[in-house]
């Protein structure tokens, strides 16, 4: 009797330990993921300039006004001292866009690109920055020894690759000047398009299946298939989107039908339609669960008062199910936000610098942007890829947090 209890308790302890280990493993995996991204998003860089700004102007360039900068540029060009900005180069730039019309930021860019030529020649991870400063210094010494005569010394700077410029810049050929502006706007546009299509259809289908559809074989079959569709690999939706929306319906998705010429079918509209198909099962299933969770007593109360089925759904079922439906919708949104494969197939642009302007414009999305950057040979692109991953993760986690908060709020009010 006594020994039996001891062995049962021991078994319980073992079980508890296994479950704790599982939780710990999941946590460690999550922390490792975050650390890996953070490790690459921040860290020291070695910056090299061809000319120190102090040589050009005693006051820092950023503090000069537009006119003062203009005068400075003119003076440099007239002196013909610098190869980067000769008199001829100045004339060419001026004919592209007169300096008198350029903004302060634009003139600064010219000075940076032509004269200072600041560039990151080596970047280090956060780990190396914090715990292996010797390797940073060794690299710095090596670079300084190898530099050409007359060039200023390279310096070590700490850099957060997630910075204000990162959000406002479009992509470019130099990593440190590239940003995620186009990708974020593209992602937002695709998500908005996706939700505008998938939400009404998904919720409508869920209401039909839960409230109207009779229990019979056909409807069971439909239900089973919707559940199955949620598990179809996303690349297959991508193929479907490519054949149907990008190719077959090109005249519609490119906007040709609406008199907008010059586009192919690889537009935000195509991407939104494809993504809508992909998240539709998720939205339907979540909305169905939310609707199913509405207590039957509520429906009966409504019917008992002589409400029609539609009135019951509109006045009681939908308001009660709304938080659950929203939760599912947000989860679907974060799924769509992170999807990469279908966007590759449907044809997100690999290099695009213009903001999306409407449903018929070309686009790129954050995951695509990250994917492209990781494929670049230049090491700094890996840093901005990590920074973009960090941004994407923050967006996804905040979406999930909103979903959780909504769910809790719903629990409290019921």
């Amino acid at each position: 009797m006594q020994s039996n209890i001891i062995s049962r308790k021991r078994n319980a302890k073992i079980g508890q330990a296994i479950m704790f280990a599982s939780t710990a493993f999941a946590l460690i995996a999550l922390v490792a993921l975050l650390l890996n991204v953070l490790n690459r998003s921040f860290g020291n860089v070695i910056v090299r300039r061809e000319i120190e700004p102090s040589v050009l102007s005693p006051t820092p360039l950023e503090q000069l006004s537009r006119d003062e900068l203009n005068a400075l540029v003119k003076r440099i060009a007239d002196s013909d001292d610098y190869d980067g900005l000769t008199r001829g180069a100045y004339r060419r730039l001026d004919s592209e866009k007169p300096f008198a019309e350029r903004s302060q930021a634009e003139i600064l860019t010219v000075i940076n690109e032509r004269l200072i030529k600041e560039e990151v020649v080596a970047s280090f991870t956060l780990w190396q920055t914090l715990f292996e400063p010797a390797s940073v210094n060794a690299e710095l010494a090596k670079l300084n020894n190898a530099r050409k005569a007359g060039m200023p010394e390279a310096r070590v700077e700490f850099r957060s690759w997630v910075n204000a410029r990162f959000f406002t810049q479009t992509m470019g050929s130099v990593a440190e000047l590239s940003g995620i502006r186009t990708a974020i706007l593209g992602s937002l546009a695709v998500i908005a398009m996706t939700m505008a299509i998938a939400l009404p259809i998904g919720v409508g289908a869920a209401i039909y299946l839960e409230e109207y559809a009779k229990k019979n074989r056909l409807n069971d079959l439909i239900q089973t298939n919707i559940t199955n569709l949620a598990g179809v690999p996303s690349i297959i939706y991508g193929m479907l989107g490519l054949f149907v929306f990008v190719r077959a319906l090109e005249s519609f998705t490119s906007g040709a039908v609406f008199g907008i010429a010059g586009n192919n079918g690889r537009t935000i509209l195509s991407a939104g339609l494809t993504m809508a198909l992909l998240v539709l099962p998720i939205i339907i299933i979540n909305a169905q669960e939310a609707i199913r969770a509405v207590p039957n007593s509520l429906r009966q109360a409504s019917y008992g008062l002589g409400a029609t089925q539609w009135e019951t759904i509109r006045d009681h079922v939908m308001p009660a199910a709304l938080p659950g439906i929203l939760t599912g919708t947000i989860l679907a949104m974060s799924r769509a936000m992170g999807e990469t494969a279908p966007m590759v197939v449907v044809g997100a642009s690999t290099f695009i610098v213009s903001d999306p302007t409407g449903p018929f414009s070309k686009f790129t999305t954050l995951p695509i942007q990250i994917y492209n950057w990781t494929a670049q040979p230049d090491e700094q692109f890996r840093n901005i890829a990590a920074a973009a991953i960090l941004v994407l993760l923050i967006i996804l986690l905040s979406l999930n947090m909103i979903a959780i908060l909504l769910r809790n709020k719903m629990r409290n009010t019921n």
Binding site: K215, Q300, S302, G304, A307, A320, T413, N414
Partner: protein, 253 residues
């Protein structure tokens, strides 16, 4: 109301068999019987709530003022406007008390003037003996009330649409004795204006509160049948059927 040879089926299963039952106007008719004998099913047949179950089907007739409510040209929604229902568990809408009572009225008359609606809400809450307790918090949610208050709110909601008949499906089974007494007293006032049918498991309640009593029992084929219908006093003091006597005296099961 009057049931004539009414049988209720769930698919192939006959849940209630051949009930012929005159429901007397402005009286309280209680339906008693052991669990599973079809009391609630029979009650729900009187306002076509069983229509909500896909497989449910009624044979025979149930008449309301001489018209069969199961006739093909009759709309279940219209029937339920005239035959209201109070359920076993209080089920107020998760909306303000005012809107709970006003909901049914607004359905019938979406553009009803506010003063008129106010009057109906007050009148209904008074009718359900709830007005004094909630008149200062009409904007609070109906679900914030106590169980007994919620049930009276459900009664107020039902009488706000001015039905002819009120069906009550074990309205006190989730309430404490004090709330139960309040509902029973309320039923006595309500019967001046409404015909009431009540399903109850509580023998004393049937004996105390009803004028007529229906005794139901399950047949060997599990279909519920009405074995006795009479004035309540008769059922409880001098039943004709031995099974009724056993049941009401607690010797049964």
């Amino acid at each position: 109301m009057l049931a004539e040879n009414a049988s209720i089926f769930y698919g192939a299963f006959r849940a209630v068999a051949d009930v012929t039952l005159p429901v007397h106007e402005r009286q309280i008719t209680a339906i008693i019987g052991p669990s599973g004998c079809g009391k609630s099913t029979l009650l729900r047949a009187f306002n076509r709530m069983n229509d909500l179950v896909q497989s449910a089907r009624v044979e025979g007739k149930i008449l309301l003022d001489g018209d069969n409510i199961y006739a093909p040209d009759v709309d279940a929604v219209a029937v339920r406007r005239r035959v209201g229902m109070v359920f076993q568990r209080p089920n107020p809408f998760p909306k303000p008390i005012y809107d709970n009572v006003a909901y049914g009225v607004r359905l019938g008359n979406p553009r009803i003037p506010k003063p008129e609606l106010d009057a109906i809400v007050e009148q209904s809450l008074r009718g359900a003996a709830l007005w004094d307790e909630v008149k200062d918090k009409l904007k609070e949610s109906g679900t914030a009330l106590s169980g007994g208050q919620q049930q009276r709110l459900c009664i107020a909601r039902a009488i706000a649409v001015q039905p002819d008949v009120l069906l009550m499906d074990e309205p006190c089974s989730a309430l404490d004795p004090i709330a139960t007494i309040k509902i029973e007293e309320l039923m006595q006032t309500l019967k001046e204006r409404y015909t009431i049918m009540i399903v109850t498991h509580n023998m004393q309640q049937a004996a105390r509160a009803s004028d007529y009593t229906v005794m139901m029992m399950m047949r060997p084929d599990r279909a519920g049948e009405m074995i006795e219908f009479d004035q309540t006093e008769q059922i409880f003091t001098n039943p004709r059927d031995k099974r009724t006597e056993d049941y009401v005296s607690g010797r049964f099961g």
